[in-house]
Structures are given as C-alpha cells and as structure tokens.
C-alpha cells in the first residue's frame, strides 16, 4: 500500500480497502479506527450517526484481522467499515428508527441484512440518522435532530436516509445501508454526490427492517463508487426464507456487470414525464450532458412516455400511509420502547394514546391519520383500491417502456439540496422531492442514483437515476459503472472529491 493511502484511509473505496486488508497492507482495526476518528472529528457538525458502536466495531475488526492472520480466506468486503441506517434491527444495539417511541429499545435479534453483513465480515460502525420511521426527504423529521449535508452544512442531506448518505459523503464510512420506500436511498445519494441503489423488490430481505410500507420498502447500498455498491449489493442480496416476499430465484451478478461497464448497443430511454416543469435548470443541464456521455459511449438514446407516472405521487401517498398506519400500530407502549401516562389509574387505551401522542412526531401522525382514513370502511375502494389500480397501470407503463429500452433514465431529484427548514412546514413541497423516484417503488423494479456533476447555479451535486426491470439489477451497474468511468475520466477524479473539507 502506498504511504499516501496509509495516511488517508478514509478516502479510499471499500474495494480498495478490502484488498489492502486482504493483502495485509493495513489492518481492519486501523481502517476502523481511522473511520471512528473521522466520526469523532466531524460528526458533531454532520450528525450522520445516532449511535456509534465503538467497542463492537473494533471487536469485529480485530476478529477479521485475527482470522486473516490465521490464514482464512475472507470475502471481498472483509474488514471494511459500514454505517447502518437505524431502521434495521441489530442485536443489542439501540434501534430507534429516528423516533422517540423506540427510545431505549435494543432488539434481541439481527436483521437478515445485518446477519449477512456480519457473515461478509463487514465492520458495523453504528446506526445512522433518518427521518422518523423513514418518513421524509430531509432527515428534518428525525426526533434526534437533522443531519447536515457535507457539501453545505446548512443544507439537507436528503431523506429519509440522509444519515447514511451523509456518512458516506463525509468520509465517515465507505459503505452504508439505506432503505428506499419512495426514494430514501436515491434522493439522499443525489443531493450528497454519492451512489445509491434501490434493488428489485424482494431482492434484499426485509426481515429485521422496521416496516414503513411493506409493499414498497427495500434496503440497499449507499457508497461513493458504483463498484462498491455492487459489492455491497451482492453481500446483502439473495433469497431469505424468513421474508415471504423475498424472490427465490438467483440474483443477477451485479459485480460482473459493474466490471463490464459497457453500454455499447444498449437502448436507453428518457422518460418524458420525469423532466421539465418543476426540475431545476442546472439539474436538467447536468442530466442532459450525462445522457450525451452515454450516447458517446455507444448507447442509443430514445425518448419514452410513461403517462401514468403523473399519478404516481398521488397513489403513493395513499398506499404508503395505509400500510404505515397498520405497521406502526404496534408502537403502543405495551411491550417495548416509550410508555407514557402509566400512573396505575389510567386505562390501557389512555396509556396507548398518550404514548403515541408523545412518541410520534408530526409527520408520522399525519401519515397514520391519512392511512387510517384511506382504509376506512366506505372509503377503501375510492382510495386504497384506486391507488392499487394506478400501481398496476404504472407497472404497465414500465413494461411498455422496457419493451423498447434496456434501461430508463431521469434526474433522480428535481432539485439539488435545499436549505434546512426550507420545506419542513410544507408537506406537499417535501413530497415532490420524490416525484421521480416513487414510480420504481410502486412497480417493484430497481434503480440507481449516481452523481453526474454540480449544478452551475449552486455548485451542488446532481444525481442521475437509472431504472431497470425487476431482477435486471445488473443493468444498473453496467450503465452506472460506464457512466461513472467516463465522468471520472473527464474530471480526473470522483465528484465527491470536490466536496469541501469539513
């Protein structure tokens, strides 16, 4: 390992670090300590982490080091640190989902994703901040205070997985796990200049992922490079018998696709409905330039129309609240977490009610109320029923588009990172951040966001979204890796390296 790297462990990719650890050039403990030091140095300003498991991380790192010393062959991410979104259960470690109502709860079990990370010898540094129960696009709805965008600490890092994206962007971890229900991996990736992938629904086990909307949620990788995302995706993906909705078929080889990095002969569709009005000029500009790069690389670019996408946001804000109103019912103060008002006199109903009143934030209450209403007798058909029909039509739009194209592309988010506080009191403005990412969640297919430059007007990162059919996640990596390579050639470095020093 070069001495430059030794002095700069935090700026390396996960793939590079894993190789250096495997070859004995650096220990996992050194790599882990370097990231813990970085967290100690910057996280008071970024606030990406809700909990740092220093002891656990160092113990895991030492275990990797001793296994390597014993001559064991280790996996492609062995010894590399990772930041885990606080929505995934990790045995013995506080898991809050960004909510007061789960304060103090330590799960007695590991999520499948966590199990697989441990099996891959990934070192888990701690839990990252998020909008409460993953409801939001800015992390401002976290009960524990917002996360700050490393590009500009006065701006939002996206949400709900702003903590995971910011941790990666601030070099506090080379890898993070996010979850994406309507864009919560991709939109934070876009506004922090990082890479984020929402795998095919059923591609990564949801067991241990505290559900927001069961039919939409999916965990996935947050990284600084496409290859790192592929390595992490491969480590956490694949069938899990504990998740009934997990796909039993073998997942495509995403690492090979990232290595292939070749778009020659591919047909790439520009979705007409995901541009124009509402999209910031600099976002559109960088997006168009990136599409030209893909053309130069040998892809054929066509325009496609997905007219039902215009109804996606409306359908989403019926399906998500409906499922979440039921999924969040269990937080009633009876078994774990917060309990309020239990004075020995009050009834069970009163204690449940007081606990939920005190434990949930405004956005969570808003969505629970919306969902409770939408599922009510007499309204079900008009709301939930209609939304499910829209969902089917969106799937058909995708089917028609994928009949013409291998992948579709769009800007990931309509704007670059906005200021903290700017939209927090305007739910509709906040919801519009996800207008381009939501269709994929409704249809269950997969998508990636990767950085394609800085918007000229504000010098903030812009993300491009690649969408592929269900179980064709490999195409995301093939296209993403090719585009990333071409842009890196043009700039001479990754975009994230232009981020200001903290």
């Amino acid at each position: 390992m070069s001495s430059a790297m030794e002095s700069d462990l935090i700026h390396q990719s996960a793939a590079t670090l894993a190789q250096a650890i495997a070859e004995g050039e650096v220990s996992s403990r050194e790599v882990t300590q370097a990231h813990l030091d970085r967290i100690a140095a910057v996280d008071d300003r970024v606030h990406a982490f809700l909990y740092v498991d220093t002891e656990g991380a160092l113990a895991a790192a030492e275990a990797v080091d001793s296994r390597r010393a014993a001559g064991e062959e280790l996996g492609p991410l062995a010894g590399v640190p990772l930041a885990l979104k606080d929505v995934l259960a990790m045995k013995g470690v506080p898991t809050t989902c960004g909510s007061r109502i789960l304060e103090g709860w330590r799960p007695p079990y590991d999520a499948t994703v966590v199990e697989r990370l441990r099996a891959a010898d990934v070192v888990i540094l701690g839990k990252t901040n998020m909008d409460e129960f993953a409801m939001g696009s800015s992390t401002e709805h976290s009960a524990y205070g917002p996360t700050h965008n490393p590009w500009d600490l006065d701006r939002i890092p996206g949400g709900s997985g702003g903590g995971s994206a910011a941790a990666v962007a601030a070099f506090e971890a080379p890898l993070a796990i996010g979850t994406d229900t309507g864009g919560s991996i991709r939109q934070p990736a876009a506004v922090t200049g990082t890479v984020g992938v929402k795998p095919t629904y059923g591609g990564v086990s949801r067991f241990g992922l505290v559900a927001l909307a069961s039919s939409l949620d999916q965990a996935g990788p947050c990284t600084r490079t496409v290859m790192d995302a592929a390595l992490l995706h491969a480590a956490i993906g694949g069938h899990d018998p504990r998740d009934s909705t997990s796909i039993p078929d073998a997942m495509p080889d995403v690492v090979a696709a990232a290595q292939q990095a070749d778009v020659r002969g591919m047909r790439i569709g520009l979705v007409r409905e995901l541009s124009g009005e509402g999209y910031q000029a600099g976002v559109e500009q960088r997006f168009r330039e990136a599409v030209q790069v893909l053309e130069h690389l040998g892809a054929e670019v066509v325009e496609v129309s997905c007219p039902i996408f215009d109804y996606a946001l409306g359908a989403y804000y019926l399906i998500l609240p409906s499922e979440c109103s039921s999924n969040l019912a269990r937080f009633d103060g009876m078994r774990y977490g917060l309990r309020v008002g239990d004075d020995g006199e009050r009834s069970v109903e009163e204690v449940m009610s007081l606990t939920r009143e005190a434990g949930f934030g405004a956005e969570v209450k808003r969505r629970i109320m919306l969902g409770t209403y939408a599922l009510s007798s007499g309204y079900y058909d008009a709301y939930y029923g209609q939304a499910q029909k829209v969902r089917t039509l969106i799937q058909r739009d995708f089917d028609a588009a994928f009949a013409q194209c291998d992948v579709l592309v769009s800007p990931t988010a309509p704007t670059t990172a906005f200021k903290l506080g700017e939209k927090v009191d305007d739910p509709l403005a906040m919801y519009l951040n996800d207008v381009a990412t939501i269709p994929v969640n409704l249809a269950g297919n997969c998508a990636m966001s990767l950085p394609v430059g800085l918007a000229p007007e504000d010098s903030l990162p812009v993300g491009l979204q690649i969408m592929a059919p269900a179980m064709a996640d490999d195409r995301l990596y093939r296209v993403g890796s090719a585009l990333e390579g071409a842009l890196q050639d043009r700039w001479g470095h990754l975009l994230i390296e232009e981020a200001p020093a903290l």
């Binding site: 989902c97 007695p108 079990y109 559900a211 009934s244 019912a329 774990y336």
Partner: protein, 502 residues
C-alpha cells in the same frame, strides 16, 4: 328486564334462525408464521420469538402444514377450495395482539360454500338437517390476558393485567355457517349436533385436538327470532360457549330471552352476549349496533396463497372416512339401528364407546355404561361424559370383574362413583370400599337363616311350594349384605336350604 318466555311457547310463537362460528385451533407442531412450539400449558411467554411477539422488523412466513390442514378441513366440509387468495390485516388495538392487527382473511377465504348434514333425534325418529357452510378461513390466535383484581374479571376495573403470548400466532381456523332456518324447536339440538359433528370430523382429520375445555374448539352462536312470515330478526352473538352442552343451552336460553323481549314489544339489540355455565343464561357484552371498522386490507408481508389443484385433489383422495360413513359402519358392526346410534351421538359419547370397544369391551356393555349411567351422571353434574374421569380402560376392568362374578351392575355403579370421586382405579375403589359380591356360602347361609327367622310366614309359603315368595327373602338378604351378594346365588341357596325345587 323482561322475563324470558318458556321454551315451548317461544318456539310456538317465533321461528329461530341460528348461525354458528366455530374456531378450531390447529394442532400444528409450530405456529402459523414462525417456528415456535404450540404445546398447551407451557410457562407464560416461553414459546415466543420476535415474529410472534411482533417485534419491530419481524416478518411472518406461512406455515405450510397449516395451509394443508385448512384445505383438508374445507374438503371434509364439502367446500370448494379457491385457486388464489390472500391474507388480510384486521386492525384494532388490544394488548393481547402483539402487532395491534390480526392476520386473518377477509373477502378472500380459502374455502367456501360447503355443507354438513347433521342428525338429531326426535320423538318421531332421527331427522337430518343440512347446515350450509359459508366459509372456512384461517387467522392467527391472539395472546391470553389474565386480569388481576377488580370485580368484573374484565380489563376495565382490573388492578393490572398479565399477557401470555404463547398462544399468539397459533393457527386458528374459523368455520362460519350460513343462517340455518327451518329448525323450529329443534334449533338448540341442531346447533349441538352441528358442533359435535364438526368436532368429530376435525378429530378424524387429526388437525386439532378439538378440546372445548382447553379452547382448541370455540363456538359463537348467533340467534335471531322472527314471527312466521316476517323478515329475520336482529341477532345476538353469544360467546364463551365452552362445551357441547353449552351450545345447546345457550341457543335455548337466547330463544327464551329474545322471545320474552319481543313478546313484550321490545327490540332485540345487536350485541355480543356472554354465556354463563353456572346459570345457563347469557348477559350482554359489547354492542354491535355501531359496527367496528377493522380497516381490513391485504397483508403485504405475505405472498398470495395459490394451492395447486392437483395437490388439492391428492388431499381430497387421502381424506379419512367421513363420520357419517364411519357411524354407519360402526352401527353395522355393533348391530344397532339409527335411533341407538343417534342417541350415542347426541349424548356425545360415540367416540368414548368406540374407544371402550377398542379397549376390549363388548359393544353392548360399552354403550350401556356410556349412554346410561355415565350420561345420567354427566347431565346431573352438568359436564360432558368425557370429563367425568372414567376412562375406557376403567370400563374394561369393571366389565372383567363383572364377568368373573366379583361385581354386579349395582356394585359397578359404585365403582364408577369412586373413580369419579378421584378414589383411584377400579381395583383401588373395589378394595377401598370393600365392594365385592359376597360368595362365601357360610356368610350367605347365616344371612338367609336370619331372614327366614324374621319372616317365618314367608318361609312356610315357600316350603309349601310357593317358590315366587322367595323374592322377599332374597331381597332381605341382599339388603343385609348391602347388595354385595349375587341374587341368583342367594336364591339357589335359599331353595336348597328349604329343600324346595322349582
């Protein structure tokens, strides 16, 4: 409160319509959505895991054995098995429900449109009623609440309540009849015969131990009354019906109560009512005038169930003999007619007789004890014959003792009395109570001489050839020996003593 109307008057004036909802707890090794064991009677909260505790992030996976059981149940009840259906969430807050929703089925039950023919005995001989079955669906059981302190035994007013989640997630099957009309005064008997038949079918299928006293078979009885020619009346739903006998009593009591209300010009309230074993009456529970909104929607954590039709046919082909066919076969083997068989079924002793015959007792003897003495005692004590504490093996032993002349029928009844009083086995009761036919000639002769001396005129008559007068002396001897002598033997000895031949 209005006075109930005497039953005969009630059914002369009104026509009852009944409906029965039966819950059967499946006897699967593991729970419906996790691998926790299901054995009854374990220490509270020892058969639980993150899934059946509904911990955040946990997910259900359907138990294949439960699906197989319910399909076999549906087939045995002449239902159609649908080719595709989903589970649904029934949302309501209650501390015995770990998730504050119950995974159940709503508008897509797995088995529909069946029937069950049941036979009741009347003065004019057996009558067959067809009970149509609307649906057979599956759901998960809830935990069990125990309320401490307070006067009502309900959650309101209790000092505190304890929850045992061992039962939470045990698979339950709900079997719902269509409204049963045209039963007239026989409604209570039809209800009982239906539940009895259902229990026997489930037992034959081996899907449940169907013990009403342990709650593995529970019945809710719906009753409404209308005057002939009028529309159906408002129904009540009686819960807490925990024995076959209670099914009959609860329906009868509701008919009497509702008739009283209606005759007095009152209105039957749509409500749940609780049956009380001690009084045989029902008392009002929750009003159902304001239907609770359970906000059902398809369970997004479980994939739809699509039973392979070929598999369903295999299950159908492998069903055991139907109870009606089984009974016909037994009747032939035992040489009894429809009436005798219906008597055994209605007394709820057929299975007991069958087990007793299997234990080596002659069919007539087995029937005599179960349908006679033991049913009489059971009725007197208001319990089921099977709950008396007398086993088929006990009857086998008593019959052996009768065959060897050690007991007679009168003494045998005392032996059963001892067994029912918990005094031990047949042999132990015989020994402890000193129950044995007196066969010592010396002791008998002394008793005979005493009786003859006490009734010299009778002695003279016998000597004079009036042999029929011997009964008075035999009776006196039997009395003196407290029934322990063999009456035939006493008579022989008496005649011999007096030198008289018949």
């Amino acid at each position: 409160m209005t006075e109930p109307m005497p039953y005969a008057e009630a059914v002369a004036e009104f026509e009852p319509v009944i409906g029965l909802e039966v819950h059967v707890e499946l006897g699967t090794e593991s729970k419906m959505f996790c691998s926790c064991p299901t054995a009854f009677g374990a220490e509270p909260n020892t058969q639980v895991c993150p899934v059946c505790l509904g911990l955040p992030g946990s997910m259900p996976v359907m138990n294949g054995a439960a699906i197989e059981s319910i399909i076999r149940m549906g087939l045995a009840l002449n239902c159609s098995v649908v080719d595709w259906c989903r589970m649904a969430r029934k949302n309501y807050f209650y501390p015995d429900m770990p998730k504050d929703y119950q995974v159940s089925q709503y508008d897509e039950p797995i088995c529909v449109d069946g029937y069950l023919d049941v036979t009741v005995t009347t003065d004019d001989g057996p009558r067959v009623f067809r009970v149509e079955i609307e649906r057979v669906h599956m759901e998960e059981d809830t935990g069990k609440l125990t309320h401490a302190g307070g006067a009502t035994g309900r959650i309101h007013g209790a000092d505190y309540s304890l929850v045992d989640y061992n039962r939470a997630g045990i698979p339950l099957v709900e079997i719902v009849t269509k409204p049963v009309t045209g039963t007239g005064a026989l409604a209570p008997e039809v209800a009982r015969a239906y539940v009895t038949e259902l229990r026997d079918i489930m037992r034959g299928l081996g899907v449940s131990d169907v013990k009403m006293e342990e709650g593995s078979l529970r019945c809710d009885a719906n009753v409404s009354l209308n005057r002939p020619g009028d529309e159906w009346g408002t129904r009540s739903e009686t819960k807490n019906v925990n024995s076959l006998r209670s099914v009959e009593r609860a329906v009868r009591s509701e008919i009497e109560r509702q008739a009283g209300v209606l005759a007095a010009g009152g209105r039957v309230v749509q409500e749940t009512r609780h049956f009380h074993e001690d009084t045989g009456q029902t008392t009002p529970g929750r009003s159902k005038e304001q239907a609770e909104d359970y906000r059902y929607f398809p369970e997004p954590d479980l994939v739809p169930i699509a039973p392979d039709p070929a598999w369903v046919e295999q299950l159908r082909a492998a069903l055991p003999e139907q109870p009606s066919v089984h009974r016909a076969r037994l009747a032939e083997q035992w040489g009894i007619g429809d009436f005798e068989m219906a008597t055994l079924v209605n007394a709820g002793v057929l299975g007991l007789v069958e087990e007793t015959v299997a234990a080596g007792v002659a069919p007539d003897a087995a029937r005599k004890w179960w349908a006679g003495e033991l049913t009489r005692v059971a009725n007197e004590r208001e319990v089921e014959p099977g709950e008396l504490g007398v086993t088929p093996a006990d009857i086998g032993r008593v019959e052996e003792l009768i065959a060897t002349g050690s007991l007679n029928d009168k003494l045998a009844r005392q032996v059963f009395e001892g067994i029912m009083a918990g005094e031990g086995s047949a042999d132990e009761v015989v020994a402890a109570r000193g129950l044995a036919v007196v066969s010592d000639d010396g002791a008998l002769l002394a008793a005979i001489d005493e009786a003859l001396a006490a009734q010299p005129d009778v002695a003279e008559k016998i000597k004079g050839g009036k042999v029929q007068a011997a009964g008075a002396i035999v009776g006196a001897v039997m009395k003196a020996t407290r029934g322990q002598a063999d009456a035939g033997k006493v008579r022989d000895l008496l005649l011999e003593r007096l030198g008289v031949t018949e």
